[in-house]
């Protein structure tokens, strides 16, 4: 409800944000699309002309592609499984009354605020180092041989680091969702004679399903493009080269822009598939 006056004012007020984001979205995207159809090697001759879909075919058929898809799936899937399972448990624990709730909440959330390069570096050196890392000391204490984490269990290590960063996010959102559960509903189910496990399964979990979906989708989008953690720890070696990292290497390290751009287009399509589902949920919640 408004006047012509305010409607035209609204258009003007929205214009800067819309134009900026439109430019930010379209210009680089168009360039990526353009490059993806070209043989483009900035250090070896530059623009060598159109090649059709060759880059797309080569990107998918290169020996690095499938391993990178696998690494991506393992990392994304592993982190999602860990953060959501532990997130639900942790959220339920933190929802109980106990002394020092505020402080514990802060302790649990803290990792989310640690910049990715710091957490990767701290884990890599101070925990996973085979000589001086805390894990090595721990293993030795129990009489085991220290593990060279980042080369012997590289994917697990990265999953561990990233899970540590994202567990707070999942926990916080799930906790918010649990707190919105009507306690009378739980009490009613208790009166109806449902044991705790059944209460969890039939009342709490369904109530959390939407929050879990949201965590799943948002984390997927962010996890698909994790970069700093790999950049700092393994630089993509030992089978930790994800799709994102592969594209980064194609573009900046081997300077094959055409090939990298084709990979970029794949990544964008992949992210969009996830984004569509997320946007649906968000859109439903927008009171129009």
């Amino acid at each position: 409800m408004a006047t012509q006056h305010s409607r035209s004012a609204a258009r003007i007020m929205m214009a800067p944000a819309v134009i900026l984001l439109l430019g930010w979205m379209l210009v680089p995207l168009a360039m990526t699309l353009l490059f993806s159809f070209k043989q483009y090697l900035p250090l070896r001759g530059g623009d060598l002309g159109w090649v059709g879909f060759e880059n797309y075919v080569r990107f998918v058929s290169s020996s690095a592609f499938w391993p990178s898809v696998q690494a991506t799936l393992v990392i994304v899937g592993g982190v999602l499984a860990i953060t959501i399972c532990f997130g639900v448990l942790l959220a339920m624990l933190l929802d109980q009354p106990f002394w020092g709730q505020g402080i514990v909440r802060i302790l649990v959330i803290a990792p989310f605020f640690v910049m990715p390069t710091v957490s990767a570096l701290v884990w890599k050196n101070m925990f996973m180092d085979p000589v001086n890392g805390l894990f090595a000391h721990l293993w030795k204490f129990f009489g085991a041989d220290p593990v060279v984490w980042l080369s012997e269990a590289p994917l697990f290590s990265i999953v561990l680091i990233v899970s540590w960063q994202w567990l707070p996010f999942a926990t916080l959102i799930l906790l918010t969702a649990i707190q919105s559960l009507d306690s009378e509903q739980l009490e009613a189910s208790e009166m109806d004679g449902a044991p705790p496990l059944k209460r969890f399964w039939f009342i709490i979990l369904p109530h959390l399903s939407r929050a879990i979906t949201v965590v799943l989708l948002i984390q997927t989008i962010f996890l698909l493009s994790i970069f700093a953690e790999i950049f700092v720890t393994t630089q993509g070696s030992f089978g930790t080269r994800t799709l994102t990292y592969l594209i980064f290497q194609r573009v900046l390290e081997s300077q094959n822009v055409g090939l990298g751009s084709a990979g970029g287009v794949y990544a964008i399509i992949l992210a969009n598939i996830v984004a569509i589902f997320l946007m649906r949920i968000v859109g439903k919640n927008l009171d129009a």
Partner: protein, 334 residues
């Protein structure tokens, strides 16, 4: 000055016509009340006059000048909102000063007007408080104060009393009437409460679905409702509307008799029925009479001392000169 003229004003939201072509003149200094059930378009009409909504077609003139395309700020009107719409981050003083600050009125003049308004509205002790620290009635007065200091051509009130409790409502009603008597500025007041309309208005505009059903003074509306809708809407308790054989006796489709125009007796009368619920107000008693064969219920007003019991058989007699007659279209037959 504040003469407001609506000339064939139309408002559509998309395909929905909220206000069909409407002509209306509000004279300078008049206290006009727009009344009607919710969704009748009365608030929309007020917002059109305020300039908060665009008219789809037609013209709004203020003191003869076309104001249709003038933004709200420039129309010289002040508005009191249902939620009061006070600025929560400003003190009462700053709230009242805001329109003057926007108009660039000098500080000392601002202060003079604030003090005068505060005195008139009993707000002097609260000037430094925030709206959040005030009661509903006080907030209402701040909103009015903010409107007064602008010295507007007309005041617009959008259901200003609906958020107050019953006792305060009566008090504020009188204060607003008092204010109008003092300022003699045009006031347009929107309400769904016909009691507010009857008690405050010089002129009542009854609206239904965007259409003006009747315009007139409270007593004109009470004495000569133009149609069945107005007859049922104005007056409390509602007028009894009777169809069928009884109406045919009066050569019309429907007759209407107000509860206060029916005599009740235990011995004889024109109609008979059984007493249902009776509401004793002390000064008056309202009886709801069933099984009259005329309508579901007939409401009768009697003296406070009259006592009938639930189930008693009573006799009713309408005052012949106070029977309203309506035709097939629901229009009044003179």
């Amino acid at each position: 000055m504040g003469r407001i003229t609506l000339d064939k004003v139309v408002k559509r939201f998309g395909d929905v016509e909220v206000i069909p072509p409407l002509d209306l003149t509000i004279e300078d200094g008049e206290f006009t009340v727009f009344v009607g059930p919710s969704g009748c378009g009365k608030s929309t009409l007020l917002r059109l006059i305020a300039g908060l909504e665009d008219v789809t077609d037609g013209q709004i003139r203020i003191d003869g000048n076309d104001a249709t395309d003038i933004p709200p700020a420039k129309r010289g009107l002040a508005m009191v909102f249902q939620s009061y719409a006070l600025y929560p981050h400003m003190s009462v003083r700053k709230n009242i000063a805001f329109p003057m600050r926007m108009a660039g009125i000098p500080e000392d003049e601002q202060k003079r007007r604030i003090d005068a308004a505060a005195k008139a509205l009993n707000l002097t002790d609260y000037l430094e408080r925030r709206p959040g620290q005030l009661s509903g009635g006080q907030r209402q007065r701040v909103a009015i104060g903010r409107a007064i200091v602008r010295e507007p051509a007309a005041f617009l009130f959008d259901e200003p009393l609906s958020n107050l409790d019953a006792a305060l409502r009566v008090g504020m009603r009188m204060e607003i009437s008092e204010l109008h008597a003092k300022l003699k500025t045009t006031m347009i007041y929107v309400t769904h409460d016909q009691v507010e309309a009857m008690t405050m208005a010089d002129k009542i505009v009854v609206l239904r679905a965007g259409y003006v059903e009747q315009v007139g003074s409270p007593l004109e509306l009470y004495r000569a409702p133009r149609n069945v809708f107005v007859a049922g809407f104005i007056g409390s308790p509602k007028m009894n509307l009777i169809d069928g054989a009884e109406a045919a006796k009066h050569d019309c489709k429907t007759i209407g008799v107000r509860p206060e125009h029916i005599a009740i007796s235990d011995s004889d009368g024109q109609w008979t029925g059984r007493v249902g619920v009776s509401e004793h107000l002390g000064s008056d008693t309202f009886f709801h009479i069933h099984d009259t064969g005329l309508a579901e219920t007939i409401t009768v007003r009697a003296d406070g001392e009259v006592g009938f019991r639930h189930g008693d058989t009573v006799y009713l007699t309408p005052r012949e000169d106070s029977i309203h007659r309506f035709d097939e279209q629901g229009l009044r037959i003179a």
